[in-house]
């Protein structure tokens, strides 16, 4: 690595031609994968709408206007208005903030606890690994929805109980994925070589395990993000999460229930938003794992 070992090593900036082509090829593969392109596009759109909605929406998503209640789509209100005359498009935009907030924070909780615990269980066989696995067993008994119901019963429903419930429910998933992938790396011959070389476990985890399992974990994060958005919508619909009048796709669905016969568009818009957003994140996750598989096979 240093010039003392390799006196004739080329200067760092000079990249051999075939390596540069490999780099281009790699980038091309990302852009040619339809899952990554479509999924990434949808995700970018949702993120953009969430950011824009912080500063600007066509109307105030909470502004009530009884004179224009249940208006059909028009130039003034692109997607029409709801039963209080609130602009549907503005409410959809504002809702994307909540979906992304809940998704990001719950995945963050799950990874912040799940990944270190999974690495620990992989690196330290024996008592520590057993404790981690038994806790995993317990948490598997509480899917996001059930955890959210229990937390809402104890602490009252709010956005934060939803975040906490989804985050806790996905901890065991990350423990399992991290541990089983880390074990594969830890049992490889180059790790054995690194050990023989005198590397400590922590340094092996940092230098070999984490970089090797990163893509798998990122793909898993994207998939769980999509599941978190599904769960959040369901919980808001049940009245266990975001509380009216705050706009969220789930609460919009819940209040549209009374107008299924007269104004089905009120159900359609949030439905489309949820499906598109979930599809975006799950496609992105799938695409990342496909590319990872392709690279592993080549």
């Amino acid at each position: 690595m240093s010039s003392a070992v390799l006196p004739n090593a080329p200067a760092a900036r000079e990249v051999p031609a075939d390596e540069a082509f490999a780099d281009l090829e790699r980038r091309g593969r990302w852009l040619r994968n339809p899952s990554v392109v479509i999924g990434g596009g949808i995700v970018a759109l949702v993120v953009l709408s969430a950011i824009v909605s912080i500063f600007w929406t066509p109307y105030d998503p909470l502004a009530v206007n009884p004179a224009h209640a249940l208006a059909a789509p028009s130039w003034a209100h692109w997607l029409g208005t709801d039963e209080y005359g609130r602009d549907e498009f503005s409410r959809l935009m504002a809702s994307s903030q909540i979906a992304l907030f809940v998704g990001a924070l719950s995945v963050l909780i799950a990874t912040a606890i799940g990944i270190p615990a999974g690495l620990l269980a992989a690196a330290r066989e024996g008592a520590i690994s057993q404790v981690v696995l038994r806790v995993t067993d317990i948490l598997y008994g509480f899917p996001a929805l059930l955890a959210a119901v229990v937390l809402a019963a104890a602490f009252g429903a709010s956005k934060m109980t939803v975040v906490l419930a989804i985050g806790i429910a996905y901890i065991p998933v990350f423990i399992r994925v991290t541990r089983s992938n880390a074990l594969v790396v830890l049992n490889s011959e180059y790790v054995l070589a690194a050990r023989a070389y005198g590397r400590r476990t922590f340094s092996i985890l940092r230098r070999h395990v984490v970089p090797n399992i990163a893509t798998t974990i990122i793909a898993q994060m994207s998939l769980l993000f999509s599941l978190a958005i599904l769960a959040e919508a369901a919980l808001d619909f049940l009245g266990l999460g975001t509380v009216a009048p705050t706009a969220s796709w789930g609460t919009m669905l819940a209040s549209s229930q009374d107008y299924l016969g007269s104004d089905a568009l009120l159900t359609l818009w949030p439905s489309l938003a949820i499906v598109a957003c979930v599809l975006g994140f799950s496609l992105l996750g799938d695409g990342i794992s496909e590319l990872r598989e392709a690279r592993r096979r080549s």
């Binding site: 067993d137 008994g141 059930l146 019963a153 104890a154 999509s226 439905s271």
Partner: protein, 346 residues
């Protein structure tokens, strides 16, 4: 259940066909087969205990007094104290926990503070709705998922295969709430084919089944989409395997080779998926019952949350968690039962 725990290890198969010590070897075989089973059961009991402590602590840690909730804000402190003692809530938490657990183990779910009814009776009543709902949904999921997945695997790499893949990807993104509401809009409001909501009871089985059709489809279609992806992956794996290539080189056609050899092997991971899907259907039923106002476990649970009927919440949460954990266990065990290569592995 995870891949790393279930590596087949040919070295640990018990020795066969030795005349000498056959009894001893079969005994050893039995012990080595039962030991992992016993260990798995023990971890299950530990997990159930942990889950019950978790539920109990979360629902009892708050300072609010159930007696105050029942009597309302106008109650005199003396009345609240008396009711607290009557409900056994002045005992230490640990003994309250064991009262609750002891009841559950004996099938006694207790009495609701709010409705003053037996919670066990209410749960039993609710299960006559939730049980059939979950089973119908699973059936629909299988009817959609198996053929779709098989077709997806056989058409892999062609346009029709990609189309099937895209459809199942789309299906997975549809929450059951959305599926349910859209089904109501199309089939009930516009076409008047099915009742919107509610449940007439099993005294009229025909009407009861009619009321369950839309809820079962909203749950089952989504599960079918998920299932088809697992079926596709599982069959693709068999199609690419060496033994199937051998079977085809003997002159069998793809369908024949799959029927004779492929399906048996493809079925093993699918049993896992069916078990795990069943667990997610039980949880999914909570949502769908609330879309269609079906008086099942989910509606009871949500009503209890809204009425702050904490002991009912506690019971149902424990029941659902137990169901999920038991299904996980069954999946794990059936895996060993179906795949002789895993016999005796821990």
């Amino acid at each position: 259940m995870s891949a790393d725990e279930s590596q087949p290890s040919p070295h640990r198969l018990p020795p066969r066909g030795e005349a000498r010590g056959r009894l001893a070897s079969s005994l050893r075989g039995a012990v080595s087969a039962l030991l992992p089973l016993a260990r798995r059961l023990a971890t299950m009991v530990v997990a159930l205990f942990g889950a019950s402590v978790l539920v109990f602590v979360v629902l009892n840690v708050l300072p609010g007094s159930p007696a105050q909730v029942i009597l309302g804000t106008q109650a005199t402190p003396a009345a609240v104290r008396q009711l607290t003692a009557q409900l056994g809530l002045n005992k230490p938490l640990v003994s309250q926990y064991f009262d609750w657990m002891g009841g559950l183990v004996h099938g006694n779910f207790g009495i609701s503070y709010i409705s003053h009814q037996s919670i066990g009776g209410q749960i039993g009543q609710a299960l006559t709705v939730t049980g059939p709902l979950v089973l119908f949904a699973l059936l629909i999921g299988l009817i959609i998922g198996l053929p779709l997945g098989l077709a997806g695997a056989l058409r892999n790499g062609r346009v029709s295969g990609s189309f099937i893949g895209a459809m199942s990807q789309l299906g997975m993104a549809v929450p059951s709430v959305v599926a349910g509401l859209l089904l109501i809009v199309v089939l009930t409001v516009k076409l008047h084919v099915f009742p919107t909501s509610g449940f007439p009871g099993w005294s009229d089985p025909w009407q009861a089944l009619r009321a369950l059709v839309l809820p079962s489809f909203s749950l089952g279609m989504v599960e079918g989409a998920i299932m088809s992806r697992y079926v596709r992956a599982s069959i693709l794996e068999q199609l690419r395997s060496d033994y199937l290539r051998t079977a085809r080189s003997k002159g069998l056609r793809v369908g024949q080779a799959l029927r004779r050899h492929g399906f048996r092997n493809a079925a093993i991971p699918l049993v896992t998926v069916v078990g795990l899907e069943l667990a997610s259907l039980v949880v999914g039923a909570i949502v769908v019952e609330n879309v269609f106002s079906l008086p099942g476990l989910g509606l009871l649970l949500l009503d209890s949350v809204n009425n702050r009927d904490l002991i009912t919440v506690q019971d149902i949460a424990m029941l659902v968690a137990t169901t999920v954990l038991v299904l996980n266990l069954l999946v794990d065990l059936s895996y060993r039962l179906l795949d002789p290569r895993l016999k005796g592995t821990a």
